[in-house]
């Protein structure tokens, strides 16, 4: 399986994150999966004319393309020309190149939320008129259109995340290379289910605080960040707290809220990222699959039942009240 990787309008952070793959390292992983890099902008030797020749060969059909990875959103501006991002040396926009190359690829993978849905590049009025490959925010379409299918029949695989976890990308590629990835492996937004069937909430070390709605009121307090600090880990897909980042990390483990970076339009939540919008003091945007009345009833009950240890810790910047030790039973 060969792979061509192009960086569109993004920050390059998904590649940088991918280079953090461990046990084994990225190069060993790719080699082991039989994935040969035709070209990657951060890794390959070839530059300038050598790359233009490769792109020409793919375009003419002389070179088969198995997997096309696009990282970054596609800038359509100004005025639909795509000239906010020209693929250097080619005199053509990235918009033009991706439209031309995608139908020739066996699989097309959108690496990161920008490539999938527009992502941060589309934030704040979207100055570059950026969209994803097959989505414009949550709306199907993008530059390739809702009906697009790559040569081997799949729509764009949206490995969303800002950035993507290195394993999300490498495992998707390995499954594609092994022929183990079909339409049933994706959720309704085209994301691989192997990480999108979990919520960021799963495995979050703040779960005990969540159970009692023992909430942090300001960043650096270790309580649950849902009620006041904008955390939407109970709604955001991702196995971030099951399979941590950079060894042992995750956003909530780092003491800051999950901002739902695997979802379309996370970049413009309509409120400050680290503040929970409320109506009459009640957070809007409760867990999606729980009846609101039940949630409210359980929340007020559990708040009332909060053990002193948990209430105390929630407002501290570290555990100040360790678990209560019970004297061992038996052995009288």
């Amino acid at each position: 399986m060969n792979l061509l990787w192009l960086q569109a309008a993004g920050c390059g952070g998904c590649t940088m994150s991918l280079l953090c793959a461990e046990a084994p390292d990225l190069f060993s992983l790719m080699e082991g999966a039989g994935i040969e890099l035709l070209w990657h902008p951060s890794i390959s030797l070839e530059t300038g004319g050598e790359v233009r020749a490769l792109l020409d060969r793919i375009e003419s059909g002389a070179q088969t393309l198995d997997i096309l990875c696009i990282e970054g959103a596609i800038a359509r501006g100004p005025r639909g020309t795509g000239r906010f991002q020209m693929l250097a040396g080619t005199g053509r926009s990235m918009l033009d190149w991706v439209r031309s190359l995608a139908p020739r690829a066996g699989h097309v993978v959108a690496v990161g939320t920008c490539a999938a849905y527009g992502g941060m590049t589309a934030a704040g009025g979207n100055p570059s008129d950026a969209v994803g490959l097959q989505y414009d925010g949550a709306l199907p379409g993008g530059i390739l259109g809702e009906g697009f299918r790559a040569r081997l029949g799949l729509p764009v695989v949206n490995v969303a995340g800002c950035p993507t976890h290195p394993d999300w990308v490498s495992e998707t590629l390995m499954m594609l290379a092994a022929g183990d990835f079909g339409p049933e492996a994706m959720d309704a937004l085209g994301r691989p289910l192997f990480y999108a069937r979990n919520l960021v909430h799963h495995g979050c070390p703040k779960n005990e605080f969540y159970e009692y709605k023992a909430s942090a009121e300001a960043l650096s307090e270790i309580g649950c960040m849902m009620e006041h600090l904008g955390c939407i880990g109970t709604q955001a897909v991702g196995d971030c707290n099951i399979r941590p980042w950079n060894g042992t990390g995750s956003c909530t483990r780092g003491g800051y809220p999950c901002i739902n970076c695997t979802a379309p339009e996370f970049e413009d939540p309509g409120h400050a990222f680290t503040a929970t919008p409320k109506i009459a003091g009640i957070p809007v945007g409760l867990p999606t699959d729980m009846p609101k009345a039940w949630f409210m009833a359980l929340a007020s009950l559990s708040k009332a039942a909060t053990p002193a240890r948990i209430a105390k810790n929630a407002h501290a910047d570290r555990i100040v009240a360790p678990p209560t030790l019970r004297p061992p039973r038996g052995r009288a």
């Binding site: 309008a9 920050c11 390059g12 952070g13 590649t15 940088m16 280079l19 953090c20 793959a21 461990e22 390292d25 190069f27 060993s28 080699e31 890099l37 070209w39 902008p41 951060s42 390959s44 030797l45 530059t47 300038g48 004319g49 050598e50 790359v51 800038a75 501006g77 100004p78 000239r83 906010f84 991002q85 020209m86 693929l87 250097a88 040396g89 934030a123 704040g124 570059s128 800002c162 950035p163 960043l219 650096s220 980042w245 950079n246 060894g247 990390g249 995750s250 956003c251 483990r253 780092g254 003491g255 800051y256 809220p257 901002i259 409120h271 400050a272 990222f273 680290t274 503040a275 910047d317």
Partner: protein, 473 residues
């Protein structure tokens, strides 16, 4: 005279196109173009000031933490607050880890592979360059990837993840490390030192730091650094792509006892006072509209017509009306390291050696910072929301001086301007026709007959370690 268009230019972060006028086998003049515009400064306007901490890091996936640090410092300055000292220490530590990783990535993945090219077959060192730096296969590349990933465990621990953390705040950092974290950080740093001393330098980092003259440097034969120096001597990389010797640094890692590396301006062979009020961005050759302005007064309005005569989305920052080179070499010269001072004004060799020197010195600084963590103290103070005010965040990204200038009015961001390191280094010409540092450094570069993408040009461009996604943002 012939004209060459070089691109796509890879093993640089982001998009770059270089136009060369070549005459008699030499570059007569160069134009450097940043062909991507996203408009981050415009995105920030009208938003809650704290949103800058989420959005600004996403300008760049390789200097993400530097963008965080600059945003947090700009917001702190606008609000007139100081972070908790231990919070500032952790912020500095995680930023230093990112910078070290960037230097490592640059040397092993971006810069050195060019010496594996067939045009160098037959050189005494070519076989070893192939063994060490063939993309995705070379031993040095794989070792660097592993060392980098393991060092970044410190970021998993303290910053949640890399890139794009929200851990750095105006009041400090969101997570208070405990005694176990401190122990783990020290262990990770010891392992990284082992990597540096067995692989990159092949000797204690202190020995590399003790090099005081270019002659001492060129005698260094150990590790992958030694291989680079052997190649540099053979190809005379010292004279290739020399700079004007005018360096700018905002200093690095502000701690209780002062910054780890001093800020300043270096010109005419000596230090000069740095007046950041004398910074202005010229738009004469950029596809941007508006007058030349200091970033507090600046604006980002793209020229959608992409007018003739302009050739880049990059603005042209000038200090006292003149360009300046930024980067590890600039920082080390301004900090007064004798080897760096002796290399001032140099070309490819000086920039790469400056980076290796900074890598070694930062390892020591990291160990000192880790030793200074006091888990019992506070790592963040609560800061009130900033309703009005302006402030600048001036930091050291791996590639050089990074500045954020924010103005807040009526609870929201009224203006946000960013000058990234590569905005300085890869700036287009200004109204006086003065080229940017890379454009100037490329003049005189040899171009062999038939070369489409001249190898010497590639060495020079990559010696700056450009980050193009930051450049225009």
């Amino acid at each position: 005279m012939s004209r060459l268009v070089v691109g796509p230019f890879n093993r640089v972060e982001g998009d770059l196109e270089v136009h060369l006028d070549v005459e008699n086998g030499r570059v007569r003049s160069a134009e450097v173009s940043s062909p991507l515009y996203r408009g981050f400064e415009a995105m920030l306007i009208g938003r809650d000031p704290m949103d800058a901490l989420t959005i600004a890091p996403r300008i760049c996936g390789i200097c993400s933490i530097s963008q965080s640090a600059a945003a947090a410092q700009a917001l702190a300055a606008a609000g007139g607050v100081q972070p908790a000292p231990q919070g500032a220490l952790i912020a500095a530590l995680i930023q230093a880890v990112e910078n070290v990783c960037d230097h490592l990535t640059h040397f092993n993945l971006f810069f050195m592979p060019d010496f594996t090219r067939p045009c160098y077959a037959g050189r005494g060192w070519h076989r070893r360059a192939l063994d060490r730096f063939t993309p995705a296969e070379g031993g040095a590349q794989r070792a660097a990837l592993r060392a980098r990933a393991e060092l970044m465990h410190i970021l998993g621990l303290l910053a949640g993840k890399w890139p794009h953390t929200l851990a750095i705040q105006p009041g400090g950092v969101t997570r208070a490390p405990d005694e176990r974290d401190r122990t783990r950080i020290r262990a990770t740093l010891r392992a990284f030192r082992d990597y540096l001393e067995t692989t990159l330098f092949g000797a204690p980092v202190e020995e590399f730091i003790a090099l005081a003259t270019p002659a001492d440097l060129m005698r260094w034969s150990r590790g992958d650094a030694g291989l680079f120096l052997e190649i540099a001597a053979d190809l005379d990389l010292d004279t290739l792509g020399r700079g004007a010797g005018r360096y700018l640094s905002f200093g690095a890692y502000p701690l209780d006892g002062g910054p780890v590396f001093a800020p300043g301006l270096w010109q005419d062979g000596g230090l000069a006072p740095l007046d950041t009020a004398a910074i202005a961005e010229d738009l004469s050759h950029s596809w941007m509209l508006g007058p030349t302005a200091h970033p507090f007064a600046g604006d980002t309005r793209p020229d959608e017509a992409m007018r003739e005569g302009a050739y880049s989305w990059c603005k042209a920052p000038r200090l006292n009306g003149q360009p300046a080179e930024v980067g590890a070499l600039a920082r080390q010269v301004i900090d007064g390291h004798p080897l760096a001072v002796a290399l001032a004004g140099g070309g490819v060799l000086a920039r790469v050696a400056g980076r290796l020197l900074e890598l070694a010195r930062t390892q020591i600084a990291l160990e000192r910072m880790a030793g200074a963590i006091r888990p019992a103290e506070r790592f963040m103070i609560r800061t009130p929301p900033v309703r009005e005010g302006q402030g600048a965040g001036l930091v050291a990204a791996a590639r050089g001086a990074l500045g954020h200038w924010v103005r807040i009015e009526g609870d929201v961001i009224a203006s946000y301007q960013i000058i990234a390191p590569t905005t300085w280094n890869f700036s287009p010409r200004d109204a006086a026709g003065v080229p940017g540092p890379l454009e100037a450094a490329l003049v005189g570069t040899p171009v062999a007959e038939g070369e489409e993408t001249p190898i010497a040009v590639q060495h020079i461009v990559r010696s700056f370690d450009p980050c193009m996604v930051c450049t225009v943002h």
